[in-house]
C-alpha cells in the first residue's frame, strides 16, 4: 500500500485512530450534555417565564421612531422641522378581515388609491405586528369621527407622529430637497431594522445626502398587550436617539433676495464664499413646495409639476448644464498668458469676424462692425470674440482644456447634495472617446468663446469664479457647516476641504484677468457697466451669452423673431469687492437673452444685500435693466 520508506504499522495505527474515536465520543457526550442542560434551563427552570411570554404572545416589541434632525440656515432660521400630526395606522395581524375593515373605514375617513397602494406595499414588507400608516395628516374632524368608532375596529389605531415640515415652503427647496414615504427601493440602501417604525426617508438633496445623520437611532419598547393587541403596560423601553441637526451655510435671507430678484424668470443663482467653499445661496427657479411630497403628492399635483414647461422640479443649480459662453474668456486669457502665447501688450485688430488661414468660413464677432484694436484686458472688458478666436487658434485645444481643468470644469465639485452633474470640458481625448472622431480646428475656436460642446453647471461657474478671484485657490462647495447632537447639545463643525492651492499662473497674469473683469462693470465700455450705478464697492464680473440654437453663416440672430424657448441663455459671473473678494456669484437666466441685461442685475441685487447695510440697498433689479448689450 505504501510507497514510502516509512513502514506503516496497521495495528498501531488502528489503535491510534480508535483511541481518538473514543475520545471524540466522550467529547460528544459532554457537549450533548451541555445542550440538554441548556434545554433544561429553558424548558424547566425558566418555563414559567417563557410560558408567560408566549401566552397570547402578550409581549410585543414596538419600534419607537427617532425624531428627524432639524435643519437651520447659517443664522439659525429653521428650514425643516417636525410637527405632530395624526395618522390612521393598522396592525394587519390583529385585523380579522383586512379588506372588509378597509371598506368600513371609508365611512369615517377618506383615503386615496395611492394611500392604499402605499399601505399594502409597506404592510407586505414590514415585520409582523408593526403598525403601518394608511392615511397621514388627519384633520381634527377626521380624528374625532374615527376616535368615536375605533372600538369597532381591532388593530386600527390613531397615532400622533412627528411629520417633516418645511416652514419656508417653496423657499430654498432646491438646496434642501425633501423627504417622502419610504418605498422598497429605499429600504435596500439603509439598515431596515433601524427604520422599523420610520415612515419617511430623504428622497432628494440634503435630506437624502445626510439621511444617515438626520435619521437617528430607533428606540424599542417592550409592551404587554391584551388579546386584542391593545397595549396594557410598558415593560421596558430604550428611547430613540434623535437625528443630528444640520446647520447650513445657506443664508435664508439672502436666498430670498435672490429668489425675488428672479421674479418670474427661469434660471439659477449660486453664491459662494470663495475662502471656504460655503454656499450662501443656491437658487433654481421656479421652485415648488416640498411639503407636497411629505404626505404623498397627489397624481394631479405631481403631473402639473412634472409637465410644467418651466420644470420646477429640475434643480438647475446642480443638474442644469449650460454652455458657458463668454464667461470662459478670463480663463482662456489666463491660459494664453501662462503659455506665453500672448502677453499683456499683445494686440489684434478686430474687424467683426475671424478667418482661419486659407479658409473661407467667417467666425463672427457678436459686434458686427468689430471692436478695433484689442489687447487682453480690453478683449475681456468688451467681450471681443475675435481676440479669443485668434488666441484659441494659436493656443490649441490641448493647452486650453488642460488649463481649464484646474478650475474644476468638466468634473463634479463634490457638493454634499444629490443630483450634481459634471458638465463637459471638451478635449481631443473626450471627442475620440465618446464620438470616435478627430478634433477639428473650428471646434477649438468655438470652445474659445464658450460654445460648442462645452457645458457647465451654475455651481461649477460660481466655484470657478471664486477660484479666479483668489488666484486659483479653490474649495469644495458645501451646504452643511456643522452637525449638532440635539440632545447632547454639542456641535461638530464639518471641515472645509481645499481642492486647489492655486499657483496655476503668475500673480501678474491673474492681475490682467482681474483688471479686465473689473472693467466689465466699471469700465466705460464694459459689457455690464450699467450695474455700476450707485455702487459703494467694486465688482469684477464677466457676462456671457450662450447660444441655444445655431445661426446659419449669413443669418443674424434677432431676439424678437426667435421663439422664447430658443432665445439665448444669459450668464453672469462675478465676485466682490473686487479688491478683497468676499463672495462669488454665478447667475444663469434661461432664454434671458444677453448676460448684461438680465443676469448681471440679479447679481448686483444679491451683492448689495450681502455687502451693503440693509437700509442702503435701494437699487432694484428693474432700475438696472436697460437696453440690450451682450
Amino acid at each position: 500500500m505504501s510507497r514510502r520508506v516509512h513502514i506503516k504499522n496497521e495495528y498501531l495505527e488502528t489503535r491510534l485512530v480508535q483511541r481518538r474515536i473514543i475520545l471524540s465520543a466522550l467529547f460528544i457526550l459532554v457537549l450533548l450534555g451541555v445542550l440538554l442542560a441548556r434545554l433544561y434551563v429553558l424548558q424547566i427552570v425558566d418555563y414559567e417565564h417563557f410560558s408567560a411570554l408566549s401566552d397570547n404572545n402578550r409581549v410585543r416589541i414596538k419600534a419607537l421612531p427617532p425624531a428627524r434632525g432639524l435643519i437651520y440656515d447659517r443664522n439659525g432660521v429653521i428650514m425643516a422641522n417636525n410637527l405632530p400630526s395624526y395618522r390612521l395606522e393598522i396592525i394587519k395581524e390583529q385585523v380579522e378581515d383586512l379588506d372588509q375593515t378597509l371598506i368600513d373605514l371609508k365611512q369615517y375617513v377618506d383615503y386615496s388609491e395611492l394611500d392604499l397602494r402605499l399601505y399594502r406595499r409597506a404592510a407586505n414588507r414590514r415585520r409582523s405586528f408593526e403598525s403601518i400608516p394608511l392615511r397621514l395628516n388627519l384633520n381634527d374632524d377626521e380624528v374625532a369621527r374615527l376616535a368615536v368608532n375605533l372600538y369597532k375596529f381591532d388593530g386600527v389605531e390613531i397615532n400622533a407622529r412627528l411629520t417633516r415640515n418645511y416652514p419656508q415652503g417653496d423657499h430654498a427647496v432646491h438646496a434642501l430637497g425633501y423627504v417622502g414615504r419610504i418605498d422598497v427601493k429605499d429600504l435596500g440602501r439603509v439598515n431596515e431594522n433601524n427604520y422599523a417604525g420610520t415612515s419617511h426617508i430623504g428622497k432628494l438633496g440634503l435630506e437624502k445626502f445626510y439621511e444617515s445623520e438626520l435619521h437617528g437611532t430607533v428606540g424599542v419598547q417592550q409592551v404587554e398587550v391584551n388579546s386584542k393587541g391593545r397595549t396594557l403596560r410598558v415593560l421596558s423601553e430604550t428611547p430613540p436617539i434623535p437625528g443630528k441637526n444640520l446647520h447650513l451655510t445657506i443664508d435664508s435671507k439672502l436666498q430670498k433676495v435672490a429668489e425675488q430678484a428672479f421674479a418670474d424668470l427661469t434660471g439659477s443663482v449660486v453664491v459662494m464664499n470663495p475662502h471656504d467653499g460655503e454656499v450662501l445661496v443656491l437658487v433654481s427657479m421656479p421652485t415648488y413646495d416640498p411639503n407636497l411630497f411629505v404626505n404623498g403628492i397627489s397624481y394631479k399635483d405631481y403631473d402639473q409639476l412634472r409637465d410644467s414647461s418651466h420644470q420646477p422640479l429640475f434643480n438647475r443649480a446642480l443638474s442644469g448644464q449650460y454652455p458657458p459662453g463668454s464667461t470662459t474668456k478670463p480663463f482662456f486669457g489666463l491660459a494664453g498668458l501662462e503659455a506665453r502665447t500672448i502677453n499683456r501688450q499683445s494686440k489684434i485688430f478686430c474687424r467683426g469676424f475671424y478667418r482661419l488661414p486659407n479658409k473661407e468660413h467667417k467666425y463672427r464677432d457678436w459686434k458686427k462692425q468689430g471692436h478695433g484694436h484689442m489687447n487682453l484686458k480690453s478683449a475681456i472688458t468688451q467681450s471681443c470674440d475675435v481676440y479669443f478666436y485668434d488666441l484659441s487658434y494659436r493656443l490649441g485645444i490641448d493647452k486650453m482644456s488642460a488649463f481649464l481643468e484646474k478650475f474644476g470644469f468638466g468634473k463634479k465639485t463634490g457638493i454634499d447634495s444629490t443630483g450634481e452633474m459634471s458638465g463637459l470640458l471638451p478635449s481631443r481625448e473626450w471627442k475620440r472617446r465618446t464620438l470616435s472622431e478627430p478634433w477639428f480646428p473650428g471646434e477649438t475656436l468655438n470652445t474659445g468663446i464658450g460654445q460648442g460642446a462645452f457645458l457647465l453647471t451654475p455651481l461649477q461657474l460660481a466655484n470657478s469664479t471664486g477660484a479666479l478671484a483668489l488666484n486659483g485657490v479653490r474649495y469644495r462647495p458645501h451646504l452643511v457647516s456643522a452637525l449638532e447632537h440635539g440632545h447632547l447639545g454639542n456641535k461638530v463643525d464639518i471641515a472645509v476641504e481645499q481642492v486647489s492651492e492655486g499657483g496655476a499662473s503668475k500673480k501678474s497674469n491673474w492681475l490682467q484677468a482681474h483688471k479686465g473683469m473689473l472693467n466689465v462693470v466699471h469700465g466705460l465700455r464694459g459689457t455690464a457697466n450699467r450695474i455700476n450705478r450707485g455702487l459703494t464697492y467694486t465688482i469684477a464680473g464677466k457676462t456671457g451669452t450662450a447660444q441655444v440654437y445655431g445661426i446659419a453663416q449669413d443669418d443674424e440672430y434677432d431676439e424678437d423673431t426667435v421663439s422664447n424657448k430658443l432665445r439665448d441663455h444669459a450668464l453672469f459671473m462675478s465676485y466682490a469687492p473686487a479688491d478683497n473678494p468676499q463672495i462669488a456669484i454665478a447667475v444663469i437666466v434661461e432664454n434671458g437673452g444677453s448676460g448684461s441685461s438680465v443676469a448681471a442685475p440679479i447679481a448686483r441685487v444679491v451683492m448689495d444685500a450681502y455687502l451693503v447695510n440693509d437700509d442702503e440697498s435701494e437699487v432694484s433689479s428693474s432700475d438696472l435693466n436697460g437696453g440690450s448689450q451682450p
Binding site: 445542550l35 434545554l39 429553558l42 404572545n57 419600534a63 409582523s128 431594522n193
Partner: protein, 373 residues
C-alpha cells in the same frame, strides 16, 4: 448493537439489506429520524402538503444516492476522492464567477435542469480527500503532511466563506479538521493550530466577515441589543422552546410556531417548533436518537480495518454531530445564527442528499470491513 450481524439468523429483510450493503442499524435509525422529520415538518410548514411531498422526493433521491454509494467499494471511493475534490473546488470557482446571487450570497450554480450549491459536494469531498491523502502515509502524520492537509482544507473553506456561507464553511472546515484529529495529530499541534486561528480571529472579524455576519455574532451575545432584527428571531425562538415545558404543547398546537412568530420555522429554526410542541422529554428522545446514529457511525469507523475507512467514517459521523450541535445551539441562543440546518429534518434539498450520501459512504466502509474481517 451489531450483535445480530454475527448470528446466522437471517430474515428476508436482512438478506435484502445485506445484498444492498446496507447497515440495518443505521437504516432503521435514519428511517425513524426521517419519519420524525416529516411529521414535524408538517407542523413546521403550517400543514403544507406540497412542501411535504417535495421533502419526500428529496428523501427518496437521498436514499437512492445512499444505496448507490453504499455499493461502491471503499477502495474505489478512495481513488475517486481526489477527482471529487478537484471537481468541487472548480465548481466553487465557477460559482464565484458565474454563480447566482440569492439573498445576498453567491452560492448557487444553475445548470439549466437543476440549481445546486457546489459547497455541498465539499462536505464529503474534503474529508475523503484528506483521508485518502493521509491513508497512504504513516500515522501519526508528520509536519509536511499536516501542512499539505491543512492547505487542502483551507482552500475550499475560504472559497465558501467568501460566498458568504459561514455555516457551510464551518461544516466543511470541521470535517477536514476531524480527519486530522482522528489521524492522530499531536495535541500540541492541534492546540497551537487552534491558538493560531484564534489569533487570526480579529483579522477575520474585520476583513472576512460581512456586516450581517458580524451583527449576528454580536446579537448572539446580547440578543436584546437588536430586538428588531436578528435578535428578534432568537428571542422568539427561545420563547417557543421555553414555553414547551416538560411535555410540550402537543403536535400542531405550538402557539409560537403556528402563529408565525418563529422565523424560518420549516428550515433552520424547526427545532424551536419541536421544542415547543414536544417539550423537554421530546428533546431528550430526539437527541438520544441522533446520539445513536452518531455512535453507530463511530463504531463502524472504529471497526474499519483501513485508515481511509476509519478516517472518513469517523469524520462524517463527527460532522453530523456538528450539524446537530450548531443547529440546536443557535436556536436555543447559545451560538450565533449561522444557517446550519437540523440534519435530516429541516426542509431543504441539498443538505438532505449530502447527508444521506455520507451515510452511504459509511455503509460502504462497513461492508469493506466485513469482507476483510
Amino acid at each position: 448493537m451489531n450483535g445480530m450481524s454475527d448470528t446466522g439468523d437471517y430474515s428476508v429483510t436482512r438478506r435484502v439489506l445485506d445484498a444492498l450493503n446496507i447497515d440495518p442499524v443505521l437504516f432503521v435509525l435514519l428511517g425513524v429520524l426521517a419519519a420524525f422529520g416529516i411529521v414535524l415538518l408538517y407542523s413546521g410548514s403550517g400543514s403544507n402538503i406540497d412542501l411535504i411531498l417535495r421533502q419526500l422526493t428529496r428523501l427518496s433521491i437521498g436514499l437512492f444516492f445512499c444505496i448507490l454509494v453504499a455499493n461502491v467499494p471503499s477502495r474505489l471511493l478512495k481513488s475517486f476522492s481526489v477527482w471529487l475534490y478537484l471537481l468541487g473546488v472548480l465548481l466553487l470557482l465557477a460559482v464565484m464567477f458565474f454563480g447566482e446571487v440569492g439573498k445576498g450570497a453567491q452560492r448557487w450554480l444553475d445548470l439549466g435542469v437543476i440549481r445546486f450549491q457546489p459547497s455541498e459536494i465539499l462536505k464529503l469531498a474534503v474529508p475523503m480527500m484528506v483521508a485518502s491523502y493521509l491513508a497512504d502515509r504513516a500515522l501519526p502524520i508528520g509536519f509536511k503532511d499536516l501542512f499539505v492537509s491543512v492547505i487542502l482544507v483551507l482552500i475550499p473553506v475560504m472559497l465558501i466563506a467568501r460566498q458568504p456561507d459561514l455555516g457551510t464553511a464551518i461544516l466543511v472546515g470541521s470535517a477536514g479538521a476531524f480527519v486530522l484529529f482522528l489521524a492522530g495529530v499531536r495535541w500540541k499541534i492541534m492546540l497551537s493550530l487552534m491558538f493560531l486561528l484564534s489569533l487570526m480571529a480579529p483579522l477575520l472579524w474585520k476583513y472576512a466577515l460581512h456586516d450581517y455576519q458580524r451583527s449576528r455574532i454580536l446579537t448572539m451575545f446580547n440578543p436584546e441589543s437588536d430586538p428588531l432584527g436578528s435578535g428578534y428571531h432568537i428571542i422568539q425562538s427561545k420563547i417557543a422552546i421555553g414555553s414547551g415545558g416538560v411535555y410540550g404543547k402537543g403536535w400542531l398546537n405550538g402557539t409560537q410556531s403556528q402563529l408565525d412568530f418563529i422565523p424560518e420555522r420549516s428550515t433552520d429554526f424547526i427545532f424551536s417548533v419541536f421544542g415547543e410542541e414536544f417539550g423537554f422529554i421530546g428533546c431528550v428522545i430526539l437527541i438520544l436518537l441522533y446520539l445513536s446514529i452518531i455512535f453507530r457511525g463511530l463504531y463502524i469507523a472504529a471497526k474499519s480495518k483501513d485508515s481511509f475507512g476509519q478516517l472518513v467514517a469517523g469524520a462524517i459521523s463527527l460532522t453530523f454531530f456538528v450539524y446537530l450541535f450548531v443547529n440546536i445551539g443557535m436556536v436555543s441562543g447559545m451560538l450565533p445564527v449561522v444557517g446550519v440546518p437540523l440534519p435530516l429534518i429541516s426542509y431543504g434539498g441539498t443538505s438532505m442528499v449530502t447527508l444521506l450520501t455520507g451515510f452511504g459512504l459509511i455503509m460502504s466502509i462497513r461492508s469493506t470491513k466485513r469482507l476483510l474481517g
